[in-house]
Protein backbone atom coordinates (compact mmCIF):
# COMPACT_ATOMS: atom_id res chain seq x y z
CA UNK A 1 0.00 0.00 0.00
CA UNK A 2 1.34 3.38 -1.03
CA UNK A 3 -1.02 5.58 0.96
CA UNK A 4 -2.78 7.20 -1.97
CA UNK A 5 -6.30 8.55 -2.43
CA UNK A 6 -7.02 5.36 -4.40
CA UNK A 7 -6.12 3.28 -1.31
CA UNK A 8 -8.49 5.43 0.69
CA UNK A 9 -11.35 5.04 -1.77
CA UNK A 10 -10.78 1.28 -1.83
CA UNK A 11 -11.66 1.01 1.84
CA UNK A 12 -15.12 -0.41 2.25
CA UNK A 13 -17.65 2.31 3.12
CA UNK A 14 -15.60 5.31 2.01
CA UNK A 15 -17.82 7.52 -0.13
CA UNK A 16 -15.69 10.51 -1.04
CA UNK A 17 -13.34 13.21 0.13
CA UNK A 18 -12.60 16.92 0.19
CA UNK A 19 -9.02 18.18 0.18
CA UNK A 20 -8.60 21.81 1.11
CA UNK A 21 -5.45 23.90 1.09
CA UNK A 22 -5.14 27.64 1.60
CA UNK A 23 -5.68 28.16 -2.14
CA UNK A 24 -7.50 25.15 -3.52
CA UNK A 25 -10.39 22.86 -2.77
CA UNK A 26 -10.92 19.47 -4.37
CA UNK A 27 -14.32 17.89 -3.79
CA UNK A 28 -15.10 14.28 -4.79
CA UNK A 29 -18.36 13.39 -3.21
CA UNK A 30 -21.20 11.34 -4.77
CA UNK A 31 -24.01 13.47 -6.16
CA UNK A 32 -26.52 12.02 -3.72
CA UNK A 33 -24.92 14.28 -1.11
CA UNK A 34 -25.94 17.85 -1.89
CA UNK A 35 -22.69 19.80 -1.95
CA UNK A 36 -23.62 22.74 -4.17
CA UNK A 37 -23.56 25.27 -1.38
CA UNK A 38 -21.06 23.67 0.92
CA UNK A 39 -17.85 25.24 -0.41
CA UNK A 40 -18.14 28.21 1.92
CA UNK A 41 -18.80 25.89 4.87
CA UNK A 42 -15.74 23.81 4.02
CA UNK A 43 -13.65 26.97 3.73
CA UNK A 44 -14.89 28.22 7.14
CA UNK A 45 -14.14 24.84 8.65
CA UNK A 46 -10.68 24.97 7.09
CA UNK A 47 -10.01 28.38 8.65
CA UNK A 48 -11.10 27.12 12.03
CA UNK A 49 -9.08 23.97 12.22
CA UNK A 50 -5.86 24.38 10.27
CA UNK A 51 -2.83 24.74 12.43
CA UNK A 52 0.84 25.47 12.22
CA UNK A 53 1.98 22.13 13.60
CA UNK A 54 2.94 20.10 10.57
CA UNK A 55 3.01 16.56 11.78
CA UNK A 56 0.03 14.50 10.63
CA UNK A 57 -1.69 13.04 13.58
CA UNK A 58 -4.61 15.19 14.51
CA UNK A 59 -7.86 13.66 13.43
CA UNK A 60 -11.37 14.99 13.99
CA UNK A 61 -14.27 12.61 13.65
CA UNK A 62 -17.74 14.05 13.13
CA UNK A 63 -20.59 11.61 13.55
CA UNK A 64 -23.62 12.60 11.47
CA UNK A 65 -26.89 10.78 11.14
CA UNK A 66 -25.91 8.18 8.57
CA UNK A 67 -22.42 9.22 7.58
CA UNK A 68 -19.20 9.97 9.30
CA UNK A 69 -16.78 12.76 8.40
CA UNK A 70 -13.16 12.12 9.33
CA UNK A 71 -10.95 15.17 9.09
CA UNK A 72 -7.18 14.81 8.77
CA UNK A 73 -5.03 17.85 9.40
CA UNK A 74 -1.46 18.45 8.33
CA UNK A 75 -0.23 22.02 8.52
CA UNK A 76 -2.19 24.09 5.99
CA UNK A 77 -3.83 21.07 4.33
CA UNK A 78 -6.91 19.30 5.54
CA UNK A 79 -8.64 16.28 4.14
CA UNK A 80 -12.22 15.39 4.97
CA UNK A 81 -13.29 11.84 4.23
CA UNK A 82 -16.92 10.92 4.03
CA UNK A 83 -17.77 7.35 4.97
CA UNK A 84 -20.74 5.20 5.75
CA UNK A 85 -21.27 4.02 9.30
CA UNK A 86 -20.20 0.46 8.46
CA UNK A 87 -16.79 1.53 7.15
CA UNK A 88 -13.73 0.25 8.93
CA UNK A 89 -12.88 3.47 10.70
CA UNK A 90 -9.60 2.17 12.06
CA UNK A 91 -8.16 1.36 8.66
CA UNK A 92 -9.63 4.61 7.33
CA UNK A 93 -7.84 6.64 10.01
CA UNK A 94 -4.52 4.91 9.45
CA UNK A 95 -4.71 5.15 5.65
CA UNK A 96 -5.90 8.77 5.90
CA UNK A 97 -2.85 9.67 7.96
CA UNK A 98 -0.59 8.21 5.29
CA UNK A 99 -2.51 10.00 2.53
CA UNK A 100 -2.38 13.43 4.20
CA UNK A 101 1.32 12.96 4.89
CA UNK A 102 1.85 12.10 1.22
CA UNK A 103 -0.10 15.18 0.10
CA UNK A 104 1.91 17.45 2.41
CA UNK A 105 5.16 15.88 1.19
CA UNK A 106 4.20 16.45 -2.46
CA UNK A 107 3.20 20.03 -1.63
CA UNK A 108 6.58 20.71 0.01
CA UNK A 109 8.48 19.52 -3.09
Amino acid sequence: MKGTIKDLLNIYGVEGYVITTNKTMQIKIPSKYKTQNTKKQFRDLYKNITEEKKRPGNIIEVYLEDVMVTIFINGSTIMMVLSKKGANQAVLRMTGKLVIAGIAKAKDK
Binding site: M1, G3, A90, V91, L98
Partner: protein, 271 residues
Amino acid sequence: MNIDITGDIEKTRCPEIIKILSLGKRTGRLSLDNGGAAGNIFFVDGRVVHANCGPIKGAKAIYEMATWTSGEYAFFVDDAADSATIDMPVDNILSEVADRIRQMDRITSLIPSSEVVYTLDPDIKEKEIALKAIQWRVLAYIDGTKSIADIANILGVALFDIMRIFYTLIKMGIIKEGHQDRTEKGELALSLPETPFIETLVKALTNAMGPISPIIIVETAQELDIDLTTDDVENLASLIEILSSKIPKEDIALEFLKTMTDWLKLEEENI
Protein backbone atom coordinates in the same frame (compact mmCIF):
# COMPACT_ATOMS: atom_id res chain seq x y z
CA MET B 1 56.43 -19.29 45.40
CA ASN B 2 57.68 -16.58 47.71
CA ILE B 3 55.28 -13.89 48.95
CA ASP B 4 57.10 -10.67 49.59
CA ILE B 5 54.48 -8.00 50.12
CA THR B 6 50.81 -8.29 51.10
CA GLY B 7 48.21 -5.77 52.15
CA ASP B 8 44.80 -4.15 51.74
CA ILE B 9 43.94 -2.27 48.55
CA GLU B 10 41.90 0.09 50.73
CA LYS B 11 45.12 1.33 52.34
CA THR B 12 47.47 1.12 49.36
CA ARG B 13 45.83 1.46 45.98
CA CYS B 14 47.04 -0.35 42.88
CA PRO B 15 48.85 2.66 41.28
CA GLU B 16 50.91 3.18 44.46
CA ILE B 17 51.89 -0.51 44.59
CA ILE B 18 52.91 -0.41 40.91
CA LYS B 19 55.06 2.67 41.63
CA ILE B 20 56.76 1.02 44.61
CA LEU B 21 57.51 -2.20 42.67
CA SER B 22 58.74 -0.23 39.68
CA LEU B 23 61.08 1.97 41.72
CA GLY B 24 62.40 -1.12 43.50
CA LYS B 25 63.08 -2.73 40.09
CA ARG B 26 61.27 -5.84 41.25
CA THR B 27 60.55 -9.02 39.29
CA GLY B 28 57.49 -11.10 40.02
CA ARG B 29 53.71 -11.13 40.03
CA LEU B 30 51.41 -8.69 41.78
CA SER B 31 48.11 -10.43 42.49
CA LEU B 32 45.01 -8.35 43.24
CA ASP B 33 41.62 -9.56 44.43
CA ASN B 34 38.67 -7.28 45.17
CA GLY B 35 36.35 -10.07 46.26
CA GLY B 36 34.38 -10.13 43.02
CA ALA B 37 37.24 -10.18 40.53
CA ALA B 38 40.94 -10.96 40.55
CA GLY B 39 43.92 -10.20 38.37
CA ASN B 40 47.71 -10.15 38.06
CA ILE B 41 50.36 -7.66 37.01
CA PHE B 42 53.76 -9.07 36.04
CA PHE B 43 57.02 -7.15 36.55
CA VAL B 44 60.51 -7.73 35.14
CA ASP B 45 63.21 -5.52 36.69
CA GLY B 46 60.55 -2.91 37.57
CA ARG B 47 59.00 -2.88 34.08
CA VAL B 48 55.39 -3.95 33.67
CA VAL B 49 55.32 -6.67 31.00
CA HIS B 50 51.95 -8.33 31.30
CA ALA B 51 48.60 -8.05 33.11
CA ASN B 52 45.34 -9.93 33.17
CA CYS B 53 42.00 -9.44 34.86
CA GLY B 54 39.40 -12.05 33.95
CA PRO B 55 39.16 -12.06 30.18
CA ILE B 56 40.90 -8.68 29.88
CA LYS B 57 44.61 -8.67 29.11
CA GLY B 58 47.27 -6.00 28.70
CA ALA B 59 47.20 -2.39 29.87
CA LYS B 60 43.41 -2.42 29.97
CA ALA B 61 43.58 -5.01 32.76
CA ILE B 62 45.73 -2.60 34.80
CA TYR B 63 43.31 0.27 34.15
CA GLU B 64 40.53 -1.97 35.37
CA MET B 65 42.30 -2.99 38.60
CA ALA B 66 43.59 0.53 39.24
CA THR B 67 40.07 1.74 40.02
CA TRP B 68 39.46 -0.89 42.72
CA THR B 69 39.07 0.64 46.14
CA SER B 70 38.90 -2.51 48.28
CA GLY B 71 40.32 -6.04 48.42
CA GLU B 72 43.73 -7.57 48.95
CA TYR B 73 47.04 -7.70 47.14
CA ALA B 74 50.13 -9.88 47.32
CA PHE B 75 53.45 -9.82 45.46
CA PHE B 76 54.98 -13.15 44.47
CA VAL B 77 58.72 -12.79 43.93
CA ASP B 78 60.17 -14.14 40.66
CA ASP B 79 56.81 -15.41 39.45
CA ALA B 80 57.20 -15.04 35.67
CA ALA B 81 54.60 -14.15 33.05
CA ASP B 82 53.68 -16.67 30.36
CA SER B 83 53.26 -13.89 27.80
CA ALA B 84 54.13 -10.23 27.28
CA THR B 85 51.23 -7.94 26.45
CA ILE B 86 52.54 -4.57 27.67
CA ASP B 87 55.37 -2.56 26.20
CA MET B 88 55.07 0.93 27.62
CA PRO B 89 56.89 2.82 30.38
CA VAL B 90 55.41 2.59 33.86
CA ASP B 91 55.09 6.40 33.99
CA ASN B 92 52.82 6.34 30.94
CA ILE B 93 50.71 3.59 32.46
CA LEU B 94 50.41 5.52 35.72
CA SER B 95 49.53 8.72 33.89
CA GLU B 96 46.71 6.91 32.02
CA VAL B 97 45.61 5.32 35.31
CA ALA B 98 45.45 8.74 37.01
CA ASP B 99 43.34 10.05 34.12
CA ARG B 100 40.99 7.09 34.41
CA ILE B 101 40.68 7.48 38.17
CA ARG B 102 39.63 11.10 37.63
CA GLN B 103 37.05 9.93 35.07
CA MET B 104 35.92 7.21 37.46
CA ASP B 105 35.36 9.81 40.18
CA ARG B 106 33.08 11.71 37.83
CA ILE B 107 31.27 8.49 36.86
CA THR B 108 30.77 7.35 40.46
CA SER B 109 29.22 10.72 41.29
CA LEU B 110 26.36 9.59 39.03
CA ILE B 111 26.59 5.80 39.29
CA PRO B 112 27.19 4.75 42.90
CA SER B 113 28.17 1.15 42.17
CA SER B 114 28.49 -1.41 39.42
CA GLU B 115 25.74 -3.40 41.13
CA VAL B 116 23.12 -0.81 40.22
CA VAL B 117 20.39 -1.96 37.85
CA TYR B 118 19.14 0.32 35.11
CA THR B 119 16.08 0.30 32.95
CA LEU B 120 15.21 2.04 29.69
CA ASP B 121 13.55 5.42 30.16
CA PRO B 122 10.45 5.65 27.96
CA ASP B 123 10.16 9.42 28.57
CA ILE B 124 12.93 10.26 26.19
CA LYS B 125 13.54 13.98 25.84
CA GLU B 126 15.65 14.21 22.71
CA LYS B 127 14.05 13.93 19.27
CA GLU B 128 16.99 12.07 17.82
CA ILE B 129 19.77 10.09 19.43
CA ALA B 130 22.87 8.69 17.75
CA LEU B 131 24.47 5.68 19.40
CA LYS B 132 27.81 3.99 18.89
CA ALA B 133 27.76 0.25 18.22
CA ILE B 134 29.05 -0.60 21.70
CA GLN B 135 26.45 1.67 23.33
CA TRP B 136 23.76 -0.13 21.34
CA ARG B 137 25.09 -3.53 22.44
CA VAL B 138 24.98 -2.41 26.07
CA LEU B 139 21.50 -0.96 25.62
CA ALA B 140 20.26 -4.29 24.29
CA TYR B 141 21.07 -5.90 27.68
CA ILE B 142 19.56 -3.20 29.90
CA ASP B 143 16.36 -4.80 31.08
CA GLY B 144 15.81 -3.75 34.67
CA THR B 145 17.29 -6.98 36.05
CA LYS B 146 20.93 -7.11 34.97
CA SER B 147 23.40 -4.98 36.89
CA ILE B 148 26.21 -3.02 35.25
CA ALA B 149 28.67 -5.71 36.37
CA ASP B 150 26.45 -8.46 34.87
CA ILE B 151 26.40 -6.68 31.51
CA ALA B 152 30.17 -6.12 31.63
CA ASN B 153 30.61 -9.87 32.16
CA ILE B 154 28.24 -10.82 29.36
CA LEU B 155 29.93 -8.51 26.87
CA GLY B 156 33.45 -9.20 28.15
CA VAL B 157 34.06 -5.46 28.46
CA ALA B 158 36.14 -3.86 31.23
CA LEU B 159 34.05 -2.49 34.08
CA PHE B 160 35.55 0.96 33.65
CA ASP B 161 34.54 1.05 29.98
CA ILE B 162 31.05 -0.21 30.72
CA MET B 163 30.60 2.36 33.53
CA ARG B 164 31.64 5.07 31.08
CA ILE B 165 29.03 3.85 28.58
CA PHE B 166 26.35 3.82 31.28
CA TYR B 167 27.39 7.34 32.29
CA THR B 168 26.89 8.52 28.68
CA LEU B 169 23.54 6.72 28.34
CA ILE B 170 22.30 8.31 31.57
CA LYS B 171 23.43 11.74 30.40
CA MET B 172 21.58 11.14 27.11
CA GLY B 173 18.46 10.52 29.19
CA ILE B 174 17.68 7.13 27.68
CA ILE B 175 18.20 4.99 30.78
CA LYS B 176 17.29 5.49 34.39
CA GLU B 177 18.05 3.76 37.65
CA GLY B 178 15.27 1.39 38.40
CA HIS B 179 15.21 -2.02 39.86
CA GLN B 180 12.60 -4.21 38.34
CA ASP B 181 12.49 -7.49 40.15
CA ARG B 182 12.29 -10.68 38.18
CA THR B 183 8.60 -11.23 38.91
CA GLU B 184 7.74 -7.81 37.62
CA LYS B 185 9.90 -8.40 34.57
CA GLY B 186 8.23 -11.76 34.10
CA GLU B 187 4.79 -10.15 34.22
CA LEU B 188 5.93 -7.63 31.65
CA ALA B 189 7.10 -10.36 29.33
CA LEU B 190 3.93 -12.38 29.88
CA SER B 191 1.75 -9.43 29.06
CA LEU B 192 3.00 -9.50 25.49
CA PRO B 193 1.05 -12.38 23.96
CA GLU B 194 2.51 -14.44 21.14
CA THR B 195 0.07 -13.53 18.40
CA PRO B 196 0.86 -12.72 14.75
CA PHE B 197 -0.28 -9.14 15.39
CA ILE B 198 2.00 -8.62 18.38
CA GLU B 199 4.86 -10.28 16.54
CA THR B 200 4.45 -7.86 13.59
CA LEU B 201 3.91 -4.91 15.90
CA VAL B 202 7.03 -5.61 17.99
CA LYS B 203 9.12 -6.10 14.86
CA ALA B 204 7.87 -2.91 13.20
CA LEU B 205 8.19 -0.82 16.35
CA THR B 206 11.64 -2.22 17.12
CA ASN B 207 12.71 -1.10 13.64
CA ALA B 208 11.39 2.35 14.49
CA MET B 209 12.34 2.75 18.14
CA GLY B 210 14.81 0.03 19.07
CA PRO B 211 14.76 -2.54 21.87
CA ILE B 212 12.56 -0.39 24.11
CA SER B 213 9.53 -1.18 21.91
CA PRO B 214 8.01 -4.09 23.96
CA ILE B 215 7.89 -1.82 27.04
CA ILE B 216 6.26 0.97 25.05
CA ILE B 217 3.67 -1.42 23.64
CA VAL B 218 2.74 -2.73 27.08
CA GLU B 219 2.60 0.76 28.60
CA THR B 220 0.55 2.19 25.73
CA ALA B 221 -1.89 -0.73 25.86
CA GLN B 222 -2.29 -0.13 29.60
CA GLU B 223 -2.85 3.62 29.06
CA LEU B 224 -5.55 2.90 26.46
CA ASP B 225 -6.96 -0.01 28.43
CA ILE B 226 -6.55 -2.32 25.44
CA ASP B 227 -6.22 -6.05 25.84
CA LEU B 228 -3.30 -7.11 23.66
CA THR B 229 -4.97 -10.43 22.88
CA THR B 230 -7.98 -8.72 21.32
CA ASP B 231 -8.95 -9.26 17.66
CA ASP B 232 -10.92 -6.02 17.56
CA VAL B 233 -9.45 -4.05 14.66
CA GLU B 234 -10.66 -0.70 16.06
CA ASN B 235 -8.72 -1.30 19.28
CA LEU B 236 -5.65 -2.55 17.48
CA ALA B 237 -5.72 0.44 15.13
CA SER B 238 -6.02 2.86 18.05
CA LEU B 239 -2.97 1.22 19.61
CA ILE B 240 -1.05 1.51 16.33
CA GLU B 241 -2.04 5.16 15.93
CA ILE B 242 -0.89 6.11 19.42
CA LEU B 243 2.32 4.12 19.04
CA SER B 244 3.07 5.85 15.74
CA SER B 245 2.63 9.23 17.42
CA LYS B 246 5.31 8.23 19.95
CA ILE B 247 7.94 7.68 17.24
CA PRO B 248 10.06 10.82 17.21
CA LYS B 249 10.91 10.92 13.51
CA GLU B 250 7.96 11.55 11.19
CA ASP B 251 9.13 9.52 8.19
CA ILE B 252 9.89 6.52 10.43
CA ALA B 253 6.47 6.94 12.09
CA LEU B 254 4.79 6.87 8.68
CA GLU B 255 6.77 3.81 7.64
CA PHE B 256 5.60 2.08 10.82
CA LEU B 257 2.01 3.16 10.15
CA LYS B 258 2.26 1.87 6.58
CA THR B 259 3.57 -1.54 7.67
CA MET B 260 0.84 -1.93 10.24
CA THR B 261 -1.93 -0.65 7.92
CA ASP B 262 -0.86 -3.22 5.32
CA TRP B 263 -0.99 -5.90 8.00
CA LEU B 264 -4.45 -4.86 9.19
CA LYS B 265 -5.82 -4.70 5.65
CA LEU B 266 -4.44 -8.13 4.88
CA GLU B 267 -6.03 -9.50 8.05
CA GLU B 268 -9.34 -7.89 7.10
CA GLU B 269 -9.19 -9.48 3.64
CA ASN B 270 -8.45 -12.87 5.17
CA ILE B 271 -11.46 -12.56 7.45
